[in-house]
């Protein structure tokens, strides 16, 4: 391959391919990602920062953002702990059915989020497999903030696991073995030796999970009940306001979510040395 490219690369000492490829990349990204995002910002500020601010200060909008943050926080807390535990078990022990478990954990990435939503309804609903047993005790998970957390857990299930496990897989065992030789218990070894070297993977796994959960729509619209000011998350608020024809209100929250994910991914990118993520 390189033998074909090399003669083309330099025209009278000027590297043609370099600026050409960079500009091709940017031009390709323009209509696909950059311009759509830019339109949100252009539209949002076209009527001045004041109307943006007013739209943002609506009590339902603030509530929706808070609800998204809180439910995503709990889903992230659970999935990071679970991902850590699952990664440890599946990386340190070899057993029959291990690969089947790994595949199952990764499955939610490939399942449409709407399917995730109605799968939860079918399980927890009053006629559902589990809901049927809980309903007589007055326990109704669906159409509550709890349902939003469950949906977030489902759709972000493999993310933290997926970041933590490869790090555990490639981690040198010699430190853990040394720790065991000098009489440390398994727990001490995990706490003082294994965990510190996973610090970066845990933080980036958590950020990825959180960013994905905050933006979740498909499963949430089915299980939350979508009540403004009670069970309406930020993405549902955007959808509701758009349907209502209040595009400014929808757009203000869209800007907040876009900035938010930009922030999260910037942290992931620029702090990667500290986080030891390759």
């Amino acid at each position: 391959m390189s033998s074909i490219i090399t003669p083309l690369r330099h025209v009278r000492g000027f590297d043609v391919v370099r600026p050409l490829s960079i500009w091709t990349l940017i031009l390709m990204m323009m209509p696909l990602v950059l311009l759509p995002l830019a339109s949100v910002f252009i539209f949002g500020t076209s009527k001045g920062l004041h109307s943006f601010w007013v739209a943002l200060k609506a009590p339902e909008a603030i509530f929706a953002l808070e609800l998204s943050m809180v439910t995503s926080f709990w889903a992230t807390a659970f999935n990071v702990l679970f991902g850590l535990f699952a990664a440890y078990v599946l990386s340190r022990y070899n057993f029959w059915g291990r690969n089947a478990l790994i595949v199952t954990i990764s499955l939610p990435t490939a399942i449409p989020t709407a399917v995730a939503g109605f799968a939860l309804l079918l399980l927890w609903g009053p006629y559902g497999t589990l809901g049927r047993l809980l309903a007589p005790h007055g326990i109704q998970m669906m159409f509550t903030a709890g349902a939003i957390v469950l949906a977030n857990i489902f759709v972000t299930f493999p993310l933290a696991f997926g970041v933590i496990k490869p790090v555990l897989d490639t981690m040198s065992r010699s430190l853990e073995e040394a720790s065991a030789t000098i009489g440390a218990t398994r727990w001490q070894t995990f706490w003082h030796v294994t965990l510190p070297s996973l610090r970066g993977a845990i933080v980036s796994g958590a950020l990825l999970t959180f960013a994905r959960a905050v933006g979740e729509f498909g499963s949430t619209i089915l299980v939350s009940g979508n009540l403004a000011g009670r069970t309406q998350t930020a993405p549902l608020y955007i959808f509701a306001k758009f349907n209502e024809g209040q595009i400014e209100a929808a757009n203000a929250i869209a800007i907040v979510l876009a900035l938010f994910s930009f922030l999260i991914f910037s942290v992931l990118f620029f702090a990667r040395d500290w986080l030891d993520v390759e």
Binding site: E60, L227, G229
Partner: protein, 299 residues
Amino acid sequence: MKESLEKSVYPGFSAKWKAEHGQEVRFTSSFAGSETVTNQILQGVGADIAILSIERDVDRLKQGGFVTADWQALPHQGIVNKTPFVILVRKGNPKGIRDFPDLAKPGVQLIHPDPVSSGGAQWSVLAIYGSELVKSEKQTGEPDQAHALQTLRAVWRNVISTPGSAREARTQFETGFGDALVTYELEGLLMKQAGTALEIVIPRATIFSEHPAVVIDRSVSAAKRPVVDAFMQYLWSDEAQRGFVEYHFRSITDESLNSAHKEFGQIEMPFTIDYFGGWSKAYAEIIEGIFRDQVQRRK
């Protein structure tokens, strides 16, 4: 609407026309939500007649120049049939719901489509709010708006889900969510017929959804005019009205048809959109002014 027209009204009119004029009448019809049908006509689908579920859509056809005659000059101001808003509850009515204010009782869970996106949900808000006004007016001579607002607020606190459409609300109710659903009596009867275990509670005072039929004057050719006019008149005949009742609509012409029909409960104090002064007024004052600004908005 599809069943009642295709199984009763169309064959009835065809037979009548054939007997009187010796010609076959063939109907081509399309069924969709009232708003969708209106949009299709506005975009040039050449329909001769439209039966709609909301007066606002007739107004849109008028504004577009598709309906030029005074459609309310027809019998019963152009309304062909009606169905009241009722409360659907689980079999045996375990929560003891008898009227709209019972929906506000602690522990009752209500499924209510979102009034922002669903026309059926707007009717339901008008039914609950109007019901309290009508009852208080009957009792004291004055409609008690503060009480009606308070009831609507209290009922809304028991709403556990606001799906985007009345159809989605029905699906949620059918899959076991909620203790109660406010919807058209027609819908409740169809759900019952489809095998859902439910009971229909008739509120003491409730609103009728009334359905206008209009001639799309712009599409009707001079040759077709007589048959179209004859069909319009036929809609208010006893035969057609009986056909509507058989398929769960209430007759607009003859209350005795309704009271003779076993599946319809008696409504003590029925009212219509006219009670609020028509749709556009009801929408601005009740849906926006009361519901959106004073019930839904968080303080």
